[in-house]
């Protein structure tokens, strides 16, 4: 059983490596995430962010603008996740008086 899982693991790794050879390079202007429109014809978000981030939020850091403004609701969820982790540690680890 271990041999079979090992072989499956190696095969899957080889498949992933083979698939990664088809990815676009870093900063490739023709990559799918850098296009104006996707193959289906819908507008791609990244181009909108890069074009409008500084004008929308007076901040040259596009990452911050995406994190806290365009995706602010998502970041609220992340903060609640962190807080939930703290509360769970409190509930499990602290002995009740």
């Amino acid at each position: 059983m271990r041999k079979i899982s090992l072989i499956a693991l190696v095969l899957f790794g080889a498949l992933l490596l083979y698939a990664s050879s088809g990815l676009p390079g870093h900063g490739d202007p023709d990559g799918p995430s850098h296009r104006e429109r996707s193959r289906a014809g819908s507008p791609v978000a990244a181009a909108h962010y890069i074009r409008h981030a500084q004008g929308d939020a007076a901040s040259p850091n596009i990452v911050t603008v995406v994190l806290a403004d365009y995706r602010g609701f998502d970041t609220l969820g992340e903060t609640v996740v962190v807080l939930t982790a703290g509360l769970v540690c409190y509930l499990i680890l602290r002995r009740s008086p």
Partner: protein, 146 residues
């Protein structure tokens, strides 16, 4: 829980380092608009400075900086600052987290967005700092502890 070894070099070095780490954390939080940084990273740095004091000078003295009982409430306060900013814009006629409805005069729409981002970064940093310190305190106190 007190630290068993009171090494004066460790105590002096950590007490000297802690304010500078905290200052750098504030820089990371408030400079997040212009460079790498933001609430999560700055909160982790603040927590690192407090945990360093917890480890070196002992839990009792480092409680002068941040009490054990503050962890969970301050974390909740941070999340509430974030959610409160969103609810404030919601009450003032905008959508959730639509920062240009914040009630601050003499600021353009883009500057209001920048201010709103700063507000929620402060909330995130408070939550991250307090929760990291609280998890450490919970583990140290633990079911096996006193």
């Amino acid at each position: 829980m007190t630290s068993s070894s009171r090494n004066p070099i460790l105590i002096t070095a950590s007490r000297l380092l802690a304010p500078f780490i905290q200052l750098f954390a504030l820089y990371v939080i408030f400079h997040g608009h212009f460079g790498p940084g933001g609430g999560f990273q700055g909160g982790a740095l603040l927590a690192a400075s407090i945990l360093m004091l917890r480890l070196s000078v002992g839990a009792e003295r480092s409680e002068l900086k941040f009490r054990k009982s503050w962890g969970t409430p301050v974390g909740a306060l941070g999340a509430m600052i974030f959610a409160g900013t969103g609810l404030l814009t919601l009450l003032l006629g905008g959508r959730f987290l639509e920062y240009h409805f914040l009630p601050l005069p003499d600021l353009s729409r883009a500057e209001l967005h920048s201010t709103g981002i700063l507000l929620i970064e402060v909330g995130v940093s408070l939550a991250v700092m307090a929760v990291l310190v609280a998890i450490y305190d919970d583990i140290m106190e633990g079911p096996g502890g006193d």
